[in-house]
């Protein structure tokens, strides 16, 4: 398509109507300023201000009543007009499927977001079961791990004794379910979007590397995030739970059917991709 097509000059008007210059808005503004200045100086100033503002307002009205006043500005001669936009001489590079970096920048296929949520639920459930099992076996209490998790947000639990942690706490349960649920869902979601970005061995990333990574992060900060947990945590168990979570979540995500992203659809509504020529 010829990009630099110019409208025929006959279409260009010789004059263009623009709002006429006027001083009344300025006069009105000045009047209002004087009006309020009078409050802090002398009432006479206010009186003058009122008069000026009224004069300005009337003038302004007369500018717009019955219809806005216009001024016809002549159009500059063609020589002084903008140059037509030129077609660029250079070339535009394209990303090809399979090219380095392509996958991250323009994924061809992704897992549906819903699979992430499902995976989060599944992984979260497995992790919860493991953690509860740990609580039962080691402490003879289902509530212990829940309370320990909630101690991140509940001050009474954070300073509770181990005995108290074993007992049922309704706040503990509510906060625990909420926190565990939110985090599991979010992580599941992140998995769904990120796993396809890893070149290969998704399971390794999802099941081992990432869980170990965040366990490391938590290890470094647990004292501040959740001192109660930090003081009692059984790290091997903790790691096992995380890996179980990662494996399950990763698996559920990977199992889901991939969908083609809109990025690869040439005329799709939102996102374009350069590899279309190649596909065509």
């Amino acid at each position: 398509m010829p990009g630099n097509e110019t409208k025929p000059s006959s279409e260009t008007p010789t004059h263009i109507a623009l709002p006429a210059p006027t001083m009344w808005p300025m006069v009105t503004a000045f009047g209002i300023t004087l009006l309020v200045t009078g409050l802090v100086t002398n009432l006479a100033v206010s009186v003058v201000g009122l008069v000026v503002a009224l004069v300005g307002a009337v003038g302004w009205w007369r500018d717009v009543l019955p219809a806005d006043r216009h001024e016809h500005v002549p159009v500059v001669p063609p020589s002084e007009r903008a140059q037509p936009v030129q077609v660029a001489a250079g070339r535009v590079e394209h990303l090809k499927l399979g090219q380095a970096g392509h996958r991250v920048r323009v994924p061809a296929e992704i897992h549906p977001y819903s699979s992430g949520l499902k995976a989060g639920i599944a992984g979260g459930a497995v992790m919860a079961v493991l953690a509860l099992g740990y609580g039962l076996i080691r402490h003879g209490s289902l509530w212990y791990p829940i309370n320990l998790l909630s101690a991140a947000a509940v001050p009474t639990l954070a300073t509770a004794t181990t005995e108290q942690l074993r007992a049922f706490s309704s706040t503990g349960l509510a906060v625990g379910i909420f926190a565990h649920g939110v985090v599991s869902l979010l992580v599941g979601f992140v998995y769904a979007v990120m796993v396809p970005m890893f070149p290969r061995r998704g399971w390794l990333w999802a099941g081992i590397v990432l869980p170990l990574f965040w366990t490391g992060l938590f290890y470094g900060t647990s004292k501040f995030i959740n001192p109660a947990l930090a003081g009692r945590v059984d790290w091997p168990w903790f790691v096992v739970c995380q890996i179980a979570f990662g494996m399950v979540t990763g698996y559920v995500v990977a199992r889901s059917e991939r969908i083609e992203t809109r990025q690869t659809w040439p005329l799709a509504a939102r996102i374009g991709i350069e590899s279309q020529e190649e596909r065509e």
Binding site: A88, A89, G90, R91, V92, E93, H94, L95, V104, R105, V106, P107, I110, Y113, A151, A152, A153, V154, P155, A158, T159, A160, T161, A179, V182, V183, L186, V187, F189, V190, V193, M194, P196, M197, G220, T221, K223, F224, I225, N226, P227, A228, A230, G231, T261, R262, Q263, R270, I271, G272, E274
Partner: protein, 378 residues
């Protein structure tokens, strides 16, 4: 005495953390020994790392560097922990995002020969955008949990019934301090007892204001809380080291906001009891200063100042009953020496320009007399 908590000597950083994790006393996190050299770690201590680094302080020691990362009191410590977390998280984000930015800037700069070609036009990637929405949400979620805990922990902290109660009233530009249970009124210098491992001795502060908004801030003891007219606020401190802690009014309150300083003297329980007793003891009339005394009571000083047991009942200015027991004058504007006192009575505005005590226009002889009298207010 044994009550003044002696800090363990410095432990190396990593050991410190490990030791902390092993022995972290959950029920009394105010005696957490893991606090060693956090500061060094953060590389913040460049200006004067002296002051409170001396362990085994005594009440005379002045903790003049009010570093919030060196808390010496329970609420400040709770705040410190979450602060450190926030700092670490933010530093982490900064490192990651900052390096990505730096990488992009270096890697993708245009090079000679690039003219004329345009890079591949990428319009976005839902996936990446989702990832960098979800991950920050996760981080924020964690911060929110911890914030909820610490906020509730500090604000709704149950204090023992018998903890010391103090009422602090902010004035333009000084602090009025009441010990309602002891009937003591003083100003600008708050005396409180120190807590120890086996005995909590927190102090509950009730904060009010007589005029505009002020804020009570002694960084090493607790975060700040405002003193608001027509509204009472509560806060508490529980220091575990003795010494004098410096603080400031932290809400702009007019001309001399800068010189509305605050000193908190943390003492052993014995010292504190002695101090309270001395404040309560009846005022001794020192006859040597009779002339000054008469002058004081015949000048309008009495309209603004109170001296307990006398006709001076003014409440507009600080209580002067035990003026000489304080180490500074006019909320830390000057140290409390006879010369400064003389200067002050002569014309307060040379020391604290704009303060609300008027220049009384006294002649030097009168000043001399009044100061002689004031010097007897021990």
């Amino acid at each position: 005495m044994g009550a003044a908590r002696r800090r363990k000597p410095k432990i190396l950083r990593r050991e410190g953390i490990r030791a902390a994790r092993a022995t972290f006393p959950l029920t009394q996190n105010h005696v957490n020994p893991a606090r060693i050299s956090k500061l060094k770690r953060l590389g913040l201590v460049v200006a004067g790392g002296t002051g409170s680094w001396a362990f085994g302080a005594d009440s005379a020691q002045v903790h003049s560097i009010a570093n919030i990362f060196k808390p010496l009191s329970a609420p400040a410590e709770a705040v410190y922990e979450i602060s450190l977390l926030a700092l670490l998280v933010c530093a982490g984000i900064f490192l990651v995002v900052g390096s990505l930015l730096a990488y992009a800037v270096v890697k993708f700069r245009s090079r000679p020969g690039d003219e004329g070609t345009e890079p591949p036009q990428i319009y976005g990637s839902n996936q990446l955008e989702m990832a960098w929405t979800a991950i920050p949400i996760l981080i924020v979620f964690v911060l929110v949990l911890v914030t909820a805990r610490t906020t509730a922990d500090v604000q709704n902290h149950p204090l023992p019934e018998d903890s010391l109660k103090v009422r602090v009233v902010g004035h333009q530009w000084w602090w009025e301090i009441h010990y309602p249970d002891h009937g003591v009124i003083t100003a600008n210098e708050l005396h409180i007892p120190v807590s120890s491992r086996d005995q909590r001795r927190p102090t509950a502060l009730r904060l009010e204001s007589a005029d505009v908004i002020h804020s009570f801030w002694v960084p090493q003891l607790a975060g700040k809380t405002d003193l608001i007219p027509n509204r009472a606020n509560d806060m508490w401190v529980e220091p575990y080291q003795t010494g004098t802690f410096l603080g400031n009014c932290a809400e702009y309150c007019g001309t001399q906001h800068a010189k509305m300083l605050l000193r908190v003297v943390v003492e052993t329980p014995e010292e504190f009891a002695r101090w309270i007793a001395s404040q309560k003891a009846p005022v001794v009339q020192d006859s040597s200063a009779q002339a000054g005394r008469d002058l004081f009571f015949n000048t309008s000083c009495v309209n603004c100042h109170r001296i307990s047991g006398t006709a001076a009942e003014g409440v507009f200015g600080p209580d002067l009953t035990r003026l000489m027991s304080r180490s500074t004058l006019a909320a830390g504007a000057a140290s409390n020496t006879p010369e400064n006192l003389r200067l002050w009575v002569q014309n307060p505005h040379t020391i604290k320009p704009g303060c609300l005590m008027p220049d009384m226009q006294l002649n030097p002889a009168e000043v001399e007399k009044i100061v002689a009298y004031l010097l007897t207010l021990k």
